[in-house]
Symmetry: C2
Subunit: 135 residues, 2 copies
């Protein structure tokens, strides 16, 4: 579940912040990320569905920020790329006849929710503008 999505989306958004009011093509963005343009477009679809960017088809098309970088905070980016940070579960369902196995996943859920709230709280304080600033 944890993958490069958060990093890739943040990279895309940083580029868009650096070139405001310009449509950047997926090829250009892919060049900075060193990634296949189709993968970039897939991430852009997600950013678009979440109203962080707008994009234009056709010649001279591309993608730009849908709002100012000062209005986007990193918790929004995390939310749409990873939803929730997981610290992992055992893959199989634990034995429900064991008092520990029965409750373990619930306990982990609660713990992970607590940790996620903390992470989100921290990321709410960082805007895309701030993050992009020292590039």
């Amino acid at each position: 579940m944890i993958s490069g999505k958060f990093a890739i989306s943040l990279h895309i958004l940083t580029l868009l912040t650096k070139f405001p009011n310009e449509y950047l093509s997926s090829d250009f963005i892919a060049g900075s990320l060193n990634l296949h343009p189709v993968l970039v477009r897939k991430e852009i679809v997600n950013l678009k569905n979440n109203q962080l960017v707008i994009s234009k088809e056709g010649k001279n098309g591309g993608t730009m920020l849908a709002k100012s970088a000062s209005q986007i905070t990193l918790d929004q980016v995390l939310k749409i790329t990873l939803e929730k940070v997981s610290f992992g579960y055992s893959k199989n369902h634990p034995n429900p006849n064991c008092p520990v196995g029965e409750k373990m996943n619930n306990k982990l859920d609660m713990l992970y929710t607590t940790l996620n709230n903390q992470i989100t709280g921290q990321l709410m304080n960082i805007t895309l503008e701030q993050f992009s600033n020292d590039f």
Copy 2:
């Protein structure tokens, strides 16, 4: 990098807490986790290398806590199972000729370090004893 290791190790430690001063076999533990005993033993090796448990070979052997559950905190468990929580990197090295690509991984490292410090700080306050208490 993120996997079930943290959850599995925590499950094992919780069982050991519930049966203190008893050597539990990897078969017994595997039954609660619904996991192959060899995988359990692999995790136990890690717990052993990090002085959280001791184990005894041979008949009637098994594993028990190396210290009291009140002396083990969850950040120690996280540290030995995941080392550091990653929120992901783009798999390929970004383009070093792009000012954004060049610095991105450094920036992410810094961000992730901050977040990890927060997570660790939170988990330092939870002992294995507390975690095990309401099973």
